[in-house]
Amino acid sequence: MNEFVFFLNNVVISGLVAGSIYALGAIGVTLLFGILRFAHFAHGDMMTLGAFITLVLTWILAGMGVSSGLPLAYFVLPLAIAITIVAALGLDRLFYAPLRARGAKPVTLLIASIGVTMMLQGLIRLLFGTGTYSFFEEVPKVIYRLPVEGATRAITFTQPQAVGVVVTILAVIALHLFLKRSRNGKAMRAVADNPDLAQVSGINIRKIVRLTWIIGAGLACLAGTFLALDVTVKPDLAFNILLPIFAAAIVGGVGQVYGAIVAGYLIGFAEVLAVFNWSVVLRPFRDSLPDWVPTTLAIVPTEYKVTVAFVILVVTLLLRPTGIFRGASS
């Protein structure tokens, strides 16, 4: 039984948490690619920016003498999302829109977004230094332990992990309803499908571009903050997970929102399964196992976790180049 709980904690819960964050990031990347036709390299830093905006807002709130048993981050999150959206629209106006107006190629926009990445990282380091910050200076991180009958270990997860996974699911449902039911959501899918025809149907492409940034940046702030609540706030917080996020967007089929969600969780689970020590599950049979079975049986060592997303990406591109949901090939 202990082995089962260990598996739940280290694979199911960790996979859900990582997958949720990857999915939220990958949705933004895939939507932006679908509408603007370029790989938004600065998406990771937009997540980091969102986390830092949340952090500053909690400082302001704490400075005003507000305190709560819950992390203040939960309360300021809507405002942080709004500010991140304004920042994203500002970045688009300043850097990407002028390039689009000149008919720049997608690769030019990609390079510009690498520039934005460096700028954002530089800006964050300039203002906050290179150190790490925590959302849990004032209140402790609540840890839930659900006892399991017949096991000495308990199913363990933190409150921000639970909140993060639930909010991710709600955000995905809201996005689904928006894309399938609302007029602007359908127009957004139409623009991704055939921008020229959308234009001759009278759809204002610029408005749809703004809407795409609003959704992408909003979800990025959400993902960045949940990641920061799970670990810590630091300048390279989300830049480090840019690879799995892009892998999820590509594996899911570029431009395919549902593909990005599925692939986000797929990569999240693949990573934790790959670094999971399988010998733990074999422990009950230890006596009957031959001697040559090693004590650690992980597919890859933890330090190489990042290669998992890369391997999945390469295999997908070899076997099914348009992704599992048949996205745009480019």
């Binding site: 899918r189 499908d193 025809l197 959308a198 001759v200 149907s201």
Partner: protein, 238 residues
């Protein structure tokens, strides 16, 4: 006052102009057909009207208003509908969603128009939940025309509506075009099936080298021996 009136329109994609002074005028009661050899500027004329490329000289008036170089999202609410020749559906959207996109600019309800589009193209009602990308060529053309009709246009512009369709569908599409026109919508279309198209046209325009070569009623162009020899593939069959 004509519904659409192009006078000496010069237009192109920057650099050398493709249209070198095109004159076209039709009324709401007309079906206007533009014919001519490849590269004559037929499709370009429709794109110029719809603001998809730069008009450098001349003027385009729609129902009396100057619309030269206006943007498509301004033209659709004014009552212009345009069906491009290729890629004229949203493949991953359902048939009904495609039609809804045609009514995107409308602020009034579009339920009645949707019902009338389904009445005009019954197969679309059956396939309304299917993705447009999964339909046959003829059905796609119906979706494309239906989408344009959803905007309640005063002028419907069609770029080669019969291209790539089987003869059965060509006839069906032409019948629908006549019906749309009888409903009070002016039609301006480009066609390769010149003879068949001119037969339903009240106004015909032969373009070559970006200029008008002949202008007249559809009948007059069909009967003109010069037009028949140069652009309709020989004399009219008996």
């Amino acid at each position: 006052m004509s519904l659409i009136d192009l006078s000496s329109v010069v237009a192109g994609y920057g650099g050398v102009p493709i249209l070198n002074g095109v004159d076209i005028a039709i009324d709401a009661s007309d079906i206007g057909v533009i014919v001519g050899p490849n590269g004559a500027g037929k499709s370009t004329t429709l794109k110029a009207i719809f603001g998809l490329l730069k008009v450098s000289a001349g003027a385009i008036r729609f129902a009396g208003a100057d619309i030269t170089n206006a943007r498509p999202d301004a033209l659709v609410p004014m009552g212009l509908g345009y069906v491009p020749q290729e890629k004229n559906v949203f493949p991953s959207l359902t048939v009904q969603e495609n039609l809804e996109m045609g009514a995107f600019v409308r602020t009034d309800g579009s339920g009645d128009t949707l019902a009338s589009v389904y009445e005009m193209f019954p197969p679309l009602r059956e396939k309304r939940r299917q993705k447009a990308g999964e339909l046959s060529g003829g059905q796609r053309q119906m979706v494309a025309m239906g989408r344009a009709l959803m905007g309640k246009p005063k002028l419907l512009m069609l770029d080669e509506p019969s291209a790539g369709l089987s003869p059965k569908y060509v006839l069906e599409i032409f019948e629908r075009i006549v019906a749309i026109n009888r409903g009070g919508v002016g039609v301006l279309m480009v066609e390769q099936n010149a003879r068949q198209a001119l037969a339903i046209a009240s106004r015909g325009f032969v373009l070559a080298g970006g200029k008008n070569l002949f202008t007249g009623t559809g009948r007059a162009l069909l009967d003109d021996p010069e037009v028949a020899r140069s652009f309709l593939g020989g004399a009219k069959p008996a």
